[in-house]
């Protein structure tokens, strides 16, 4: 284990490792370890078990079920979870809308939403991007017009991840079209069963349905589902996106993918060129992990919720390494990864498929997303450039 960790931190990580090994369903962990996608049930089951142990959202305020952990402990918790092949809690719940409600919501909203959010009794979706508001998110056009005790919402959201499972959606909506871009935006919580709201899944290049379009046609939303103040939504969104400075590095995921490559690699890794690529990936991943630890070590002295070059650096490098790892696995499988299959069942008499045959190439296609979402890598480079050039 990492020499940068103190004895106490190592013990903490061991304790978490033991917890995941003993409390999380072995069948699920084994299946996901073999490259399976977590189902809705996998995620809900995981979040309920975590909640039963008071671990649903360690980074939330203690009065809403959080733990008084250090940033490093929170990181180790998340990393051990990934390494144990336990699906991460739904980020929309615990990393995004939860902290926003806990920080800016009313007491009524906290009581109404936070326990259900932690436990995944509400499956949240994110309604930020629009067809014409991607990297330039502040140009979003979905409107919410006040009508008595309600807002009337019209517009379209897109790239809504796992929105097909969503119970509720937190949306950025324009409440003042006269104000400057960022100023007229509000943060609204919408019940996805509301009349006028429809979800259409988008078929992606990996063959799966991970993201959705969400259409809002005169959807009436009670005004008490506005979070914080009207027209302050942009600052809540910035808080939400800057909240987990180190999460976008996805270092646990990268490490577990590297370990899987080593486990599956077999004789392919006797090829010195493949081996060299793997080694350089391992070195870059180790460097990234140390960068994460450096950021965590000075986390307390950084202003919260403000984008900074370090989180951009972590996102940039982390997404590249995830992509590199997924690409390397396809190269190791070679022709065994070419067939597109829904299951690993083969007719009697045929050889069993090697592990990875099902998922390696779809995962490679799927992970092209990593340098696009959460602020495209070009946006991240611009954030870094602005900071270092002050220009």
């Amino acid at each position: 284990m990492n020499t940068a960790l103190s004895k106490e931190d190592r013990a903490f990580a061991e304790e978490m490792r033991a917890f995941f090994a003993s409390e999380m369903p072995a069948e699920m962990r084994e299946r996901l370890g073999r490259g399976g996608h977590p189902s809705r049930d996998d995620i809900v089951t995981t979040m309920r078990i975590l909640d039963d142990h008071g671990l649903a959202a360690p980074h939330w305020p203690v009065e809403w079920g959080g733990k008084d952990w250090t940033p490093l402990q929170r990181h180790l918790f998340a990393e051990e979870m990934v390494m144990a092949n336990v699906p991460s809690p739904l980020a929309f719940n615990t990393a995004m809308v939860g902290p926003v409600i806990a920080t800016f919501g009313s007491q009524e909203q906290k009581e109404r939403f936070l326990p259900a959010t932690a436990r995944c009794d509400i499956w949240w979706s994110q309604g930020f991007s629009e067809p014409n508001a991607g990297s330039d998110l502040a140009s979003l056009k979905t409107t919410a017009v006040r009508d008595g005790d309600e807002y009337v919402v019209n517009g379209q959201k897109t790239w809504t991840t796992l929105g097909q499972f969503g119970d509720w959606i937190f949306c950025l909506v324009r409440t003042d079209s006269a104000a400057k871009k960022q100023r007229g935006i509000s943060f609204l919580l919408i019940d996805m069963t509301s009349p006028g709201l429809t979800v259409r899944p988008i078929h992606l290049i990996d063959g799966g349905y991970e993201v959705n379009e969400v259409f809002l046609d005169n959807v009436r939303v009670p005004a008490d589902q506005l979070v914080g103040e009207e027209n302050q939504g942009w600052s809540y969104a910035k808080f939400l996106l800057g909240n987990e400075r180190t999460a976008n590095a996805s270092i646990g995921l990268i490490k577990s993918r590297i370990l899987r490559i080593k486990r599956l690699g077999g004789t392919a890794l006797d090829d010195p060129l493949l081996r060299a690529r793997l080694t350089r990936l391992e070195v870059e991943a180790t460097a990234l992990e140390m960068s994460v630890l450096r950021v965590l070590a000075r986390e307390a002295s950084l202003p919260p919720g403000v984008p900074d070059p370090t989180s951009s650096m972590l996102k940039l490098k982390g997404s590249e390494l995830q992509q590199d790892a997924s690409e390397l696995l396809t190269d190791i499988l070679g022709p065994a990864g070419l067939a597109y299959r829904e299951t690993d069942e083969v007719p009697a008499g045929f050889d069993a498929l090697p592990e990875g045959a099902l998922d390696a190439m779809p995962t490679y296609f799927n992970w092209r997303k990593a340098s696009i979402y959460a602020g495209s890598n070009e946006v991240q480079r611009e954030i870094i450039a602005k900071t270092i050039l002050k220009f």
Partner: protein, 376 residues
């Protein structure tokens, strides 16, 4: 665990930094490089001695400060920023460390106080034309002679070999041990072909013809001591390179903001902005690994330590190549000139990448057996 400098280390960094800022601007350095016979400054060397830098990691009983690799790394990073020309790596990081690791108490007593005081310059001769990166595949020989030994063979690219008062040389004994031997600079049979290295540091090829020598400790124990000194030395070169890379990035940033073309500072052009951002990412990766190397030196598990240090140097070499090449490109023509400092940083980091092991060898070594990332 605290990953930042402690107060003492910060003070050390400030002290060294302010000395170098005063004494090592680009012009002063160029003057030393091009117009002095020695190629470095005896006067500054004495100041390093007075500040305790030459004996930083030397035991207190031999006149040193008895500090650790963490403090040495702080100094190396500062030296990397200033791109010093004095034979610090040759004398302190290699020579004195080898005497300390392999030498007898009498040998330490005879040599280390002189190093600490600034009166003795050392060098380590190990590379040979046909041995590439190997420490053991060498042709130089040592044979017993009376109470001592004689050494024969030719060594290349000996850092500080031009001016060293004493030279530590690796050579094979009749028992096929790779021993470390101490040779006086003015010994009969030692000839020097002195030159400036590509990065401006001075060095020499050394020809040994039956040169009288004494063994540093027992030849049979020397290789283990040598390998462990090189672990530390590699980690120190990582820190030096990080200092140099940092300067290359900030010089480039300053240049982008001041150079005007097409009626605007070229920092407005997104192609250049994003390349500068990529340099920053490479620098952070390198900085993290230099830190990882330093922490790994504390690891008693020798194979794990060695793998971590090698991984660090690999990352540093890759980052330095990227940052160095981009720094020149983003500067344009001015970056090509000897007069402008940025190219000198590229030269130093390029030399570091060809010291002890290069990126290709490091890739093989780090990737051997279980590799770097393991389940624990």
């Amino acid at each position: 665990m605290d990953l930042d400098l402690n107060d003492e280390q910060q003070m050390l960094a400030d002290t060294v930094g302010s000395l170098l800022e005063k004494r090592y601007d680009a012009n002063a350095r160029l003057q030393l490089l091009e117009s002095s016979e020695l190629g470095w400054s005896r006067e500054l060397w004495q100041q390093y001695a007075d500040l305790g830098l030459l004996g930083l990691t030397v035991d207190e009983q031999y006149g040193g400060a008895g500090m650790g690799a963490g403090e040495l790394a702080v100094v190396m990073e500062s030296f990397g920023r200033a791109l010093i020309l004095e034979p610090f790596v040759a004398t302190v990081v290699l020579g004195a460390a080898l005497v300390d690791a392999a030498g007898s108490p009498e040998q330490k007593q005879a040599i280390l106080p002189g190093v600490t005081a600034g009166s003795t310059v050392l060098a380590f001769a190990y590379a040979e034309a046909a041995s590439r990166w190997s420490l053991t595949d060498i042709a130089a020989t040592a044979v017993p002679a009376g109470s001592g030994w004689t050494v024969s063979g030719e060594k290349i690219a000996v850092l500080g070999g031009d001016s060293a008062d004493r030279v530590v040389v690796s050579a094979k004994t009749p028992d096929s041990d790779v021993g470390l031997f101490l040779v006086e600079g003015d010994a009969t049979g030692l000839r020097r072909d002195a030159y400036a290295m590509q990065d401006g540091l001075r060095g020499a090829d050394l020809l040994f013809e039956d040169v009288p020598a004494v063994a540093l400790g027992e030849p049979a124990d020397a290789l283990a001591a040598l390998e462990s000194v090189l672990d530390t030395a590699m980690a120190m070169l990582c820190s030096e390179a990080v200092g140099a890379m940092e300067r290359m990035l900030w010089m480039t940033v300053d240049y982008l903001k001041t150079r005007e073309q097409f009626g605007a500072p070229i920092a407005v052009f997104q192609t250049l902005r994003h390349r500068a951002a990529n340099m920053y990412v490479s620098l952070e990766q390198a900085r993290s690994m230099a830190l990882a190397a330093r922490l790994a030196l504390l690891d008693d598990d020798v194979p794990a330590r060695r793998r971590a240090v090698r991984a660090a140097k690999l990352q540093i070499d890759l980052s330095a190549r990227h940052i160095g090449q981009e720094a020149i490109q983003l500067h344009g023509g001015i970056g090509m000139t000897m007069e402008y400092p940025v190219g000198h940083y590229l030269k130093r980091t390029t030399a570091i990448a060809k010291t002890f092991a290069d990126a290709d060898l490091l890739t093989q070594l780090v990737g051997a057996d279980e590799g770097l990332v393991t389940a624990d």
